[in-house]
Symmetry: C3
Amino acid sequence: MDPADLTAARTGVAGTAPLVQCLTNTVVQTISANALLAVGASPAMVDNPHEAADFARIASAVLVNLGTPHDDTAEAMLLAVRAAAEAGTPWVLDPVAVGGLRWRTDLAAELLELRPAVVRGNASEVLALAGAGAGGRGTDSTTSSDDAVDVADELARRTGGVVAVSGVTDYVTDGATGVRVGGGHVWLTRTTGAGCALGAVVAAYAAAAPGLVGAVAAHAHVALAAERAAATAGGPGSFATAWLDALDAVDDLAAADLR
Amino acid sequence: MDPADLTAARTGVAGTAPLVQCLTNTVVQTISANALLAVGASPAMVDNPHEAADFARIASAVLVNLGTPHDDTAEAMLLAVRAAAEAGTPWVLDPVAVGGLRWRTDLAAELLELRPAVVRGNASEVLALAGAGAGGRGTDSTTSSDDAVDVADELARRTGGVVAVSGVTDYVTDGATGVRVGGGHVWLTRTTGAGCALGAVVAAYAAAAPGLVGAVAAHAHVALAAERAAATAGGPGSFATAWLDALDAVDDLAAADLR
Amino acid sequence: MDPADLTAARTGVAGTAPLVQCLTNTVVQTISANALLAVGASPAMVDNPHEAADFARIASAVLVNLGTPHDDTAEAMLLAVRAAAEAGTPWVLDPVAVGGLRWRTDLAAELLELRPAVVRGNASEVLALAGAGAGGRGTDSTTSSDDAVDVADELARRTGGVVAVSGVTDYVTDGATGVRVGGGHVWLTRTTGAGCALGAVVAAYAAAAPGLVGAVAAHAHVALAAERAAATAGGPGSFATAWLDALDAVDDLAAADLR
């Protein structure tokens, strides 16, 4: 993958300010909105069943994250995704903690039929979503991204979209081509919502640069920002703050660690 | 407007620690509570229908923000506002994203009849609330505050309260007198919830200094803190942190940029 | 109490990474999750009625915080606590604003019958929970922890667990032995969710070190981190960030101020 294409995607996000509707968990709404603002996108958290579909029709992209679903937000997710699918708007599925918990696993399966442009999760979640694993331990993966490569490829072919598996090294595939994105920093895993915010950034990129390039660029952007932030941070609290500063500052993805 | 009156209002907030009940969106609850604590007020986020009215009867002020309404919180908003109105307690309406979204626009119209002490929104929202515009794009205004001056004046006369239109320059009016508050910093628009937190601070000021003076003082306080924060911040993440520090530190509003 | 036991508890948390299910208020979910990550625990905010009990069966500890209860989360709390009680999993009750508000006070009384391993609140809340007071003013206590000593001792004997009363000096008791934990910093009271995050940390410690030692260690850890953070912070915003860094850095509780 040509790094110039990644930088073009990053420039595209900044230049078009995609409006990203987030139906996401309440723990991470703030950091997700701030991450979107930092990369130059525009967040909107319209997640009630009365308005979710109407907003999805005008959004540039939609994120559905299953971290803390409730009856009304789950209904709103289905309505928003159906509207997005009808409008041809890309949407991203983040199947948080899918596998061990029956209700959200069924919900994720129903959503998956509506063909997300990108699935982003950790290895345990992607394996469980694909029907190939039992899921992890809350938001922690109990499996490496390497173990999910074949399943991710297959899942991408099934949805016709991109599947991204987060881990020490991320694996991003469209079913034909798989790209590993290295770098990042362990403190991302010590910052609540960093992975979920990555899902939101993936949605912003999906609006500006469809397919594999946008998804890889989103992962590269987040990883480069994490490296830059870790260089100045004194712990997980100051890391989160510095990471938002760095998401804003990164305007070139040429240094991405692609494998 | 005499800057000494603004500083007196700021001293009044610090001296009385108004108890501000916030029925606000889940994205911004944290920064709103922290902004209230930073200016010396006391936040309480009681937003369920079982308790909202009872709490409104003992609160010093009530904030209603329509960012992420759901059936139960919308019901709680109406109950809290009716109780506040009966008790003579000032309440603030922040009509987030009103205009394009039908359900919350109807809710805002119903709330408006209960005569908020202050309406605070961006130009698109204020125009839509007044029935004079179609609304913006999520939380982004597509209109300058200057375009909303006449509508804001008229709306203030209709409610008998104050209307504040946020923008590069804010416009605050009681229908007879209009004051422009400059300063601030563009990073406020890159910090999720900064505008919503301003709404919460406006409620705290409404308890300590009714009418135009309190509303202008709240805007001046937030703007001065933003300028101070921007002088030391390295990006939007560190700006948000520094802004909370500065909200706490600002104890004199003499430097407010009033026009 | 031997400081070496406290440090052993701290090491136990870091070594076992307890999975803490938090059914807590939406204002403080983020700081609670980040505090848990900072001390080395693993947070999971599963708070819907469909999944709360199933998750409680695999969690290491459960936190129930009554800050912003709604019908569905209140139902989830009861389901999670019953499952935790059946599984012998320790759970912590944080009775936020109990006393003045009838609905949550009734809910707290119902939860209390299920025998929390630890109750953590301010003096007004503990007095109200025990039926000995009218409650405070939102999350602010109107009473010192010293005034709640006898009631806390009695409540601990009634539940068979530990009761912790937060204040300038914290009082932690199992009904037989009472320990005062000093230190900390006033900026904890200016950081929204710091007390609620303490409740989450108490749950993590309850999984690693049952009884009085774990509860005292959690309070000592939070207090020592606050002192360290205050030494570098410039206000309440930078304090919150520095406190998370310090929660991560504190690995020895020998300096705890026990009385």
